[in-house]
Symmetry: C2
Subunit: 453 residues, 2 copies
């Protein structure tokens, strides 16, 4: 039994929905289909979810926004027309949406969530109708009825454990089940949406709940690439990736999907298969618990910019018990998270995402450090990039650091920082932003070109 | 004007004192001579200071210890005899020592300090007599009279700022001034000794106080070596070393002397010249503020063992504000200092000197980490060595990391940790203790062999 999730671009038009139909019906194991709201048909297009948010917020402010309402309805109309579905389905969607817009506005977050979630919810209804129109037994499943219960936590939904037990009964339903992604219901039967990549989370929860053999995640790329295709053209595709590798890669800019979405599937040991709706024959990428290493030490290289480094120097620092802790406490007082803290005898650097500070808070932080820690020197270096090399094959692999630093040296990249020693499956380099692209290319060249066919 | 300091082995016998005489009198700028207590004449010999400590502690406990008293007096007798000094000088020393042993024992630390310090004090008196017997104008200087004032801080002496002003007047004294190392006087006119390498500290303070042009530190090696001669035979000598390089090297096992002893000289910008009493013609090593780089990126390689690593893993750790701070707080509660903390996305390691924990405290610490931080995993890896590569030439030197890690890879050394990014003049590698020697040899081979003549 498989859970199959389709992203917004896979459902952006009637033609796309037909592809989804073909994919789902080509494999009798594809039982549960999780759908997103219609996404972009072309780069400048608007996602239905974004239209709904705008519509909801304007209505909340008491503004009329008929153009957004009709833009949303138009999208469904077009899809319905392309799929030759009766117009009735679209009037139902419109009625439903108007009802949501007129609902109680006391709790603004719940009001907006219900409108946002309607993008997926109505799409699931429409797609179920299409499957039926093609003579396939299929039904729309409402998350409340199925028991996908959540609690609100910091603005987004967190699944409750009992949901898994509830969802298990979906196994017994006959036909294909079309399930809207992105939201669940709280104990008060209100809609609460998941964070970013919410449909991925729904699919992952369902895979866990119905004890699926596989969670197929259909998107618009043939595979996860070993490196960002904007940095290296035609990079190698990754066939198999462990959960841990996925997590380390997604940390530094790999955005195929949000790795935390995979937790429910990961906890149940269910493999995830990333595939392309537009090219379902492509092998895709499997995310698994363990993999055979056929690729040398490195499986992927990711990078992200916009980091900075706070450098603190104080003679005899390493004799001062609590120095590092006090420095981290100051960052914590300002609500900052840090990525790494390389240290020397008399100096300590803290690498963090610089968007967490503006010029003013930066000055306040430096002032606190000066006052509380009395350092000899404290400075900030801006515009650093972190490059993450990831691979299970790096465990105890002698020479990976040597190959990487040699490749960077030959590319005339100055390594500002090396972070190796905690994770066994990754190694991190800090470089100036201006050298990031060159550095990633050099590492790719070293570890991928000529490595496998 | 120069301050010249001689260590214990340089003063262990009459023959050694004659060498000291020749060295001092060969240069009219050698004005202030700081002396240690007589040290070891051969590897199994006892240092006078160690005999004095044993003598003092036994007497404090109410035990008779005539053998230690006579062992101390014997050492001075032998030196005096070899130098053909009148026996009277030795009886004076004996009288002085017996007086100290009979002194008030209320404050045990002061009682012991006075006995310990007598090793240097009496040696200074003896050497001044010898210089005079050779027809040279010389005088013993008492630190109290000269105004070397200290306060007791955590068991050891800390120099008071006003001492420098007091000591300045020594410039005006005529002849050679023989000054005992290792101690000063507190405001109550009691002896307080400096920490380890106390005579180096006295020399450094005097150099600052009399505004010396040079602080010459005579010991029993021709120079500071680029690497431990027990690991690499006949290693290159270092001709010039910056204070910062010295500090980074001494951190990880370079024990020519305690780098903190140099602070007073360093603050006054006075260069230090390390020379060999037994081979004064040798060029020695100069410690300076800035040096010309004639040696490639690395000036020295030091290493030390007996480190361990506490590894903590927790899914989504990097989202948890304060995680690192809480971990460091736990270490602080146990009074532990740490050296470095490499981090991954979901993991954090703390490298520390393992002698700080026994099996019991280690378990208590792990338990606290488990209880307070609820990690997915916490383990300790023992028996690690840290290897420190130091050199001003490493600032922005592209390729140093590459050469180092390549050399280690070729020697089949597995790098457990790389710490680079805070200090610009050092790079640290963590390896298993069993691989330390091989690693240091490989790095030496890479950066020194064939580099300069």
């Amino acid at each position: 039994m498989k859970v199959v999730k389709f992203g917004g671009s896979s459902l952006a038009s009637g033609d796309q929905v037909k592809k989804v139909f073909d994919i789902v019906t080509s494999d009798p194991d594809r039982k549960v289909v999780v759908v997103s709201a219609p996404g972009k048909r072309y780069p400048e297009d608007c996602k239905v979810t974004d239209l709904l948010i705008e519509l909801g917020e304007r209505t909340l402010r008491g503004e009329e926004a008929p153009e957004y309402l009709s833009a949303v309805i138009d999208r469904y109309s077009q899809v319905a027309a392309e799929l030759k579905l009766p117009a009735e389905i679209v009037s139902k969607i419109e009625k439903d949406l108007i009802q949501l817009l007129n609902a109680d506005k006391t709790v603004q977050a719940r009001y907006i969530d219900a409108i946002k979630a309607s993008g997926e919810d109505n799409n699931a209804k429409l797609i179920a109708e299409y499957f039926k129109s093609r003579g396939i037994e299929a039904s729309y499943i409402n998350p409340k009825e199925a028991g996908l219960l959540v609690e609100e936590n910091g603005g987004t939904a967190l699944v409750l454990k009992k949901s898994y037990e509830n969802l298990k009964s979906l196994r017994k339903r006959s036909g294909i089940l079309i399930f809207p992604g992105f939201f669940g219901y709280n104990e008060a039967s209100e809609v609460v949406t998941f964070s970013r990549s919410g449909s991925d989370i729904t699919g992952s929860i369902l895979a866990n709940g119905i004890e699926a053999d596989l969670y197929e995640n259909f998107t618009d790329v043939d595979a996860v690439y070993s490196v960002n295709p904007n940095v290296v053209s035609n990079p190698k595709e990754i066939r198999e990736l462990t959960y841990r590798e996925m997590r380390e890669l997604s940390y530094a800019g790999f955005s195929v999907f949000h790795d935390e979405a995979l937790i429910p599937a990961f906890e149940a040991g269910i493999p995830v298969h990333i595939k392309n709706t537009n090219n379902p024959e492509a092998a895709g990428t499997r995310i698994v618990n363990e993999r055979k290493n056929t690729n040398g030490p490195v499986i992927g290289i990711a990078s992200d910019d916009d980091f900075c480094s706070i450098y603190v120097n104080k003679y005899l620092m390493n004799k001062e018990i609590g120095f590092g802790r006090k420095l981290l406490s100051i960052l914590e007082d300002f609500g900052l998270t840090y990525e790494h803290s390389p240290s020397g005898i008399d100096d300590l650097s803290i690498i963090l995402r610089q968007k967490q500070m503006n010029a003013e808070t930066e000055e306040l932080i430096l002032e606190r450090i000066r006052t509380d820690l009395k350092p000899d020197e404290v400075t900030v270096e801006h515009n650093l990039s972190l490059i993450m090399m990831v691979g299970e094959g790096m465990r105890h692999n002698i020479g990976t650091a040597a190959r990487a630093s040699k490749a960077l040296a030959e590319a005339r990249v100055n390594i500002e920082m090396i972070n190796q020693g905690s994770s066994e499956v990754s190694m991190m380099f800090g470089v100036k932003e201006a050298q990031e692209k060159k550095a990633v290319q050099a590492l790719y060249e070293e570890f991928f070109v000529g490595v496998y066919a």
